[in-house]
Symmetry: C2
Subunit: 459 residues, 2 copies
């Protein structure tokens, strides 16, 4: 006899949580499809060699490796070789760490079956051997939409609109922050700190949180020279509308060819988006945004929910080369991702889950005895055929117990079908919330229940 | 540079496959909920100790074990201990092998949050280190519905109706085979071969395939005595309707108390089901049905599709004790399962997937140049807001290439918005299948497109 425990960093989802998560997922799917993205699925595990070396040293460490089945010890000669070397001998598969590398493998393997530009979305769990902590899990879902095979900036424009549509549908007002890898490169060029690009952007990224002075201190600590810092100081004072900021930035970046490429891209995007009536998002130029610099090569996005304090609830960007690692060259792409867990928390905080996700119109038939139950069964079939959720309490238990099941089980109504009702071809129905009672004739069964349903969801 | 391969026994799903799989899953969900089942989800991996010892020796071997993260070698003293012993030292987690054991763990851990009888459904992948072969995969979905905390036979009645509803919804005519563990035990008792119950039922299970003589030979080989075989020979000749067969069987089983309990159960179920108008299934008493004898204790079900040659597409049964292994006693249950992969094959064979799953009403806007693209963008936003899938070809490519993308990408229509159309506030739209062309005025955009949509799905 074992006391059961759940694996560290993983979660069970109870019915109400599953329904709320699915509510979000359904909205995302709907909008992905509206924008022409098609769903694909890849296996939960990949050959180990497909995943290793793709996520940096830290990533390799966090990949969950699966032990070879059968006698994995057979071919091992040196057990003292150390964990890292042994792991690749006793394991040949690993759990998906993200959706991007498996997608790259998918594109290469199925290239002849796909039409490019290929627009796919994928909503599946990924696994990371991170140390679990509040809000960080070892199993979580990623929801990604990517276009591969096109370097047109119209894709970026479309993805920004997709963010706007999807979050509008979820009723979450958002800020969509945008930046460009080439603008960051241009700034580094002008300040002559190209080699310190990462240190520079990591510090810059903290501007909102710690302020200008602390950012400058951190840069100095990282060895960025005073005269370099002086060069990009004007950055801290860029202000105004998106266009105004972009113009000031353009002045500043004129000497940098790469920087000007970034400016051109953002101008094009911003200009075209003037035709888009943002539904509930705002596009914000954010020069401190610096995510995924190791693989993004163009635009970078990040989405923040307004009105709540929460990290980003989405992000993405353009990458030049998705599939080169697997031998297929010249496959540029751009993609965005939605953070399911954080979106869930935002929606809880803002009270955005519709009541239908927690309240249900469903009917419990009280069990009076074998004959009555048989009669109830007939009613239940009719209701179910009309799409109304109905069930019979399975036993001839005490009324109190049956009513309590109805109450705790979130039934909206109980139906009472005793001897008298059977004689009269009728049903006594009670609304468990309001206490109201109705007598429903068998002949009017469906029309009456549809009426009750309407009343219930309006209330 | 790596040539990518997919892990052995796993599958990628392309968009059309995902859509068809989701079509089945949506129908199952709808019916599960109609019958009062609520969705839960459990993690993909469990602590190793939760899973080992629950599926027999063969099962333990087929569980995918996950290597401990960090230095898994640190605490190992004897590398020569053999694979089995080492595995439990270097691994502490394993991938879900089925949905039942994790569900048992879930029920025990969340017992105070659940209302019993607790009716849950769960649709999630499971993993088995089986040798891959045609139609057998290392990752596949299980779709289970179980009720725990009630030993009422009304649950069996409900589950049979659920099978009927769900397969009717999928338009698959089926036979629902039913048997009872206690009837099999009764037969064994009468033939005085209680100790050989498994051999007896395994042989009996082959009656359809190999015939009476071969079944008897196999029984003899397994050491079942001639005089025992004589005793249950009358079984082979039971005939008639469900009721008639049950009556003959009752005569036969009279001397066996346990056998008669099985008869009573089936009589109750069959009797109550006379109130159920089967939508497209037939209930069949099948004495040779003997699945899951190591855990089922009451009714056993199996579903076969009519009109196709295919193994069972569903199965289930009653078990006395789901959670005893985790210390929670007296938790009876009954459940059924739907075989997603086989249902998919049946539906392909019978041509049951609706055309909407492969044909889409979606509009590709041809890219004529930057200005035209900007105008197209406005139309596209309007269409999308009305729920119509529309997109812009991302580049000013040659017409032939753009039309080919529309064609291969399963677009139903292309929209042409050139200089002339912009001047006239109109749009030229072409149906890619029929070749028909329309001129649509901006003022009538949505009404016209909704008309086209109707025409398209009717055609």
């Amino acid at each position: 006899m074992q006391k059961p425990t759940i694996a560290k960093g993983t979660r069970d989802f109870l019915p109400e949580e599953v329904k709320k998560r699915n509510f979000i997922i359904q909205k995302l799917k709907k909008n992905f499809e509206l924008f022409g993205f098609s769903p694909i699925e890849t296996p939960s595990f990949e050959n180990l060699s497909t995943l290793t070396g793709k996520y940096g040293e830290e990533g390799d460490r966090l990949i969950f490796k699966i032990l070879k089945s059968g006698d994995f010890t057979r071919k091992i000669k040196d057990w003292g070789a150390g964990a890292q070397s042994l792991a690749t001998q006793i394991s040949d598969k690993a759990l998906r760490y993200d959706l991007t590398v498996p997608f790259a493998r998918f594109v290469v393997q199925h290239q002849s079956e796909l039409i490019f530009p290929f627009k796919r979305y994928q909503i599946q769990p990924v696994w990371r051997a991170d140390r679990p902590q509040k809000g960080r899990f070892r199993e979580f879902h990623q929801c990604d939409a990517d276009v591969v095979g096109s370097d047109s900036l119209w894709q970026e424009i479309d993805l920004i609109q997709l963010y706007d549509f999807a979050f509008h549908d979820l009723e979450i007002p958002t800020e969509i922050h945008i930046n460009h890898r080439k603008i960051l490169a241009g700034l580094a060029e002008i300040a002559e700190i190209q080699e310190q690009l990462i240190d520079f952007t990591v510090a810059l990224d903290k501007l909102d949180k710690i302020g200008q002075d602390a950012v400058i201190s951190e840069m100095k600590e990282k060895g960025i020279q005073e005269n370099s810092i002086e060069k990009f100081k004007p950055l801290f004072h860029i202000q105004g509308t998106f266009d105004e900021q972009l113009n000031q930035l353009e002045e500043f970046l004129k000497p940098s060819e790469i920087g000007m490429q970034g400016i051109e891209d953002l101008k094009f995007i911003q200009n075209k988006l003037k035709n888009h009536q943002f539904l509930s998002s705002e596009l914000i130029l954010n020069l401190t945004l610096a995510r995924g610099l190791d693989y993004y090569t163009g635009c970078i996005f990040e989405v923040k929910a307004k009105k709540v304090t929460m990290g980003s609830i989405g992000g993405g960007g353009r990458y030049n080369d998705l599939t080169g690692i697997f031998g297929l060259k010249d496959m540029p792409g751009v993609g965005i991702s939605f953070g399911l867990d954080r979106i869930y928390l935002v929606m809880e905080e803002l009270g955005l889950f519709p009541t239908q996700e927690t309240r249900h119109f469903k009917v419990l038939f009280i069990h009076f005895g074998e004959n009555e139950a048989s009669e109830a069964q007939k009613y239940i079939q009719k209701l179910r055929q009309a799409g109304i959720q109905a069930e019979l309490y399975p036993e001839d238990a005490k009324m109190k117990k049956q009513f309590s099941y109805g109450d705790k089980g979130n039934f909206s109504h109980v139906a009472l079908l005793g001897e008298d009702e059977i004689k009269n071809d009728s049903l006594a129905v009670k609304n468990l919330k309001s206490g109201e009672q109705y007598e429903i004739k068998q002949a009017n069964l469906l029309s009456k229940f549809n009426e009750l349903k309407e009343i219930f969801y309006k209330a």
